[in-house]
């Protein structure tokens, strides 16, 4: 949030989050190894290195699946937002676990030979023209490379320097990485004579992830088409009634079919700001006024409602909109003011009780 960058801005929630995360990873890998080592024993035992390779890969894909579910889950119910709060640590941890898997695979299956191990990953199986024989390992390498770039740029330093738009686009590559990993498993492990359970779990998880994204997408699309502002005379757009908005809450409205704004009702009246958080484009209209500031539901960045500026010492700024109230209707000027522009809140006429909402 500040202009100074620390490795991590620790707080109690992040500490608990990370503790549970690491405990989960250790537990997952331990259960996998213990079950694997006790099920086949003596000369029938699986090699512990192979087991470690599989334990870490299974852990990483499970983590990635959870990561991909958190986003839409938090949009469907704010109760999941504590999981979203520190999701980048989840992502970095997942990358590290996947890295162990990849490193063990390169060492184990490509080391000790007459070819450079890294070269061997790409050349030892050269059936690029076949589907069932396709070299699945380069797909894993590609996915790991994407996860590496994401983990390396996960810090707010990069977010700021790449601009949130570029950063966000870069981090959308997680879906490419996920697709590559699904192929990596489907064209690799699943091609062998393995239990049907693996295919079912992989497919089932993918279906849940896709469904969650579709459901949230449709929900937002519906809300946007319902809450589209209506033209009101020259240069103003009617975005609804003051009575639609609860105190210290906002309504998200679409202006001219594209921009989303957050129309807040607060102690001093009505203010309109961009819906897009300067941090990671979080939906400000789904936040609240906390301590007099609009507070982003994703990571808690704050903005003064009347000028879109983060309270000092922070320096973020978002665009504001001119707003007035006619009767009970809220009118917004769709031309955004430059980020951080002061706009006097429109006061709500007091003749009727405004607390129907």
């Amino acid at each position: 949030m500040s202009i100074q960058y620390r490795a991590v801005q620790w707080n109690r929630h992040k500490r608990i989050y990370d503790l549970l995360l690491v405990a989960g990873v250790v537990l997952f890998i331990a259960v996998f190894m213990i079950v694997g080592l006790t099920r086949w024993q003596g000369t029938a035992a699986a090699h512990p290195v192979t087991l470690l390779m599989r334990a870490t890969s299974s852990c990483a894909i499970t983590m990635l699946s959870i990561i991909l579910m958190i986003g839409p889950a938090a949009r469907l119910s704010p109760r999941f937002s504590p999981l979203l709060y520190n999701r980048r640590h989840f992502g970095v941890t997942m990358f590290l676990v996947a890295l162990i898997h990849g490193a063990v695979a390169v060492f184990w299956y490509h080391g000790f030979g007459i070819v450079n191990p890294i070269v061997s990953v790409f050349t030892s199986n050269a059936r690029y023209d076949s589907l069932s024989g396709f070299p699945f390992q380069p797909l894993g390498v590609l996915a790991l490379a994407i996860l590496f770039v994401m983990a390396a740029t996960s810090h707010d330093f990069w977010l700021k320097n790449l601009t949130p738009t570029v950063w966000k686009t870069l981090h959308m590559l997680v879906y490419v990485a996920y697709a590559l990993i699904v192929m990596h498993v489907t064209l690799g492990f699943l091609q062998d004579d393995v239990s049907w359970v693996y295919g079912a779990l992989l497919g089932g998880t993918a279906v849940v992830i896709i469904t969650l994204h579709l459901v949230t997408g449709v929900r937002e699309w519906r809300r946007d088409s319902r809450d589209e502002g209506q033209a009101f005379g020259e240069g103003w757009i009617d975005v609804g009634s003051v009575d639609d908005i609860e105190l210290n809450h906002a309504k998200v409205v679409v202006l001219r079919g594209c921009e989303r704004i957050a129309v807040y009702r607060h102690a001093d009246g009505i203010s309109a700001i961009s819906n897009v958080c300067a941090h990671q484009n979080g939906p400000l209209g789904e936040g609240r006024i906390v301590d007099g500031c609009v507070t982003c539901p994703w990571h808690g960045y704050q903005y003064l409602v009347h000028n879109g500026q983060s309270p000092p010492p922070y320096t973020e700024k978002i665009p504001t909109y001119d707003v007035r109230v006619e009767g009970r209707r809220i009118l917004v000027n769709p031309e955004a003011n430059p980020p951080g522009t002061e706009v006097t809140p429109a006061s709500i006429p007091s003749e009727t009780s405004g607390d129907r909402a």
């Binding site: 992040k14 086949w40 504590p82 490509h110 030892s124 693996y198 609240r288």
Partner: protein
């Protein structure tokens, strides 16, 4: 008001606390369950074994053609044991067996064994090899011809398959097996009967020479894939050998 709104750096609202107290253990339990299922559903890694804890010493006649093999006389009328000689890593035994080709030797190494088939990993050549006294007279290799056969199965690198890597077969292991065979580990073929019984064949070219150079290159793309081969099968002691044209492998 905002007491149901979660902000990471503020105290957790009651509403969220109650939810998380249920959600987090559920996620934890699910993770343990997934881990348990994934691990317990793994296929049988096989009963191959690479005993790296103890060494084995064998005495016999070493041949390098088609591949480095130690022929150990069978005790009490048992067939002659053919033990493939290799070294550490994904490389064959050509290098260290050349100087003692044809000799009667005593050699120490780590045994790899599965289904009665054995290989010896010689770690410290040439110190672990001595030309042994009391060499019996050299005899030509006794070959019993079993005729032409069509075999369905998988080309394996026997080192991994017999126990160096567990499991060491199939698609996940294809690149590794290719690397091993390219490095000089003799290619073998495994077939599986309906009852699950495995039979192994050492692969040579049609003349019975070891597969090297271009002949090996022709074979490599088929390693670890389900394939069909056709060739003349011979028996040397306890080993089956299939003489085949490496260009005639057909994918199933």
């Amino acid at each position: 008001m905002s007491n149901d709104f979660y902000v990471g750096y503020l105290p957790l609202p009651q509403h969220h606390r109650r939810f998380l107290i249920v959600l987090l253990p559920v996620i934890g339990l699910l993770a343990v369950l997934v881990s348990f299922i994934l691990s317990s559903q793994q296929s049988d890694p096989g009963d191959g074994n690479w005993d790296l804890a103890s060494t084995t010493t064998l005495t016999g006649r070493v041949t390098v053609d088609p591949y480095p093999i130690l022929s150990v006389p069978g005790s009490e009328g048992a067939p002659e044991r053919q033990v493939l000689l290799i070294t550490m890593g994904k490389v064959g035994g050509d290098g260290f067996t050349q100087p003692v080709a044809g000799e009667w030797i005593t050699v120490t190494g780590y045994l790899i064994a599965r289904d009665g088939r054995t290989m010896l990993t010689v770690k410290h050549a040439p110190t672990d090899i001595t030309v042994a006294p009391n060499s019996p007279a050299r005899e030509p290799r006794r070959t019993i011809s079993l005729g032409r056969h069509r075999l369905r199965g998988e080309i394996i690198d026997p080192k991994c398959y017999f126990g160096a890597m567990k499991p060491g077969e199939g698609k996940v292991h294809k690149a590794c097996a290719t690397l091993c065979i390219a490095g000089g580990i003799p290619p073998m073929f495994v077939t599986r009967s309906e009852a699950g019984e495995r039979t192994y064949y050492l692969l040579t070219d049609s003349e019975g020479n070891g597969l090297r150079g271009d002949a090996l290159e022709a074979l490599l793309p088929f390693v670890a894939d389900p394939v069909r081969i056709e060739g003349e099968v011979d028996r040397w002691g306890d080993l089956l050998v299939c003489r085949m044209d490496p260009g005639s492998v057909v994918r199933e």
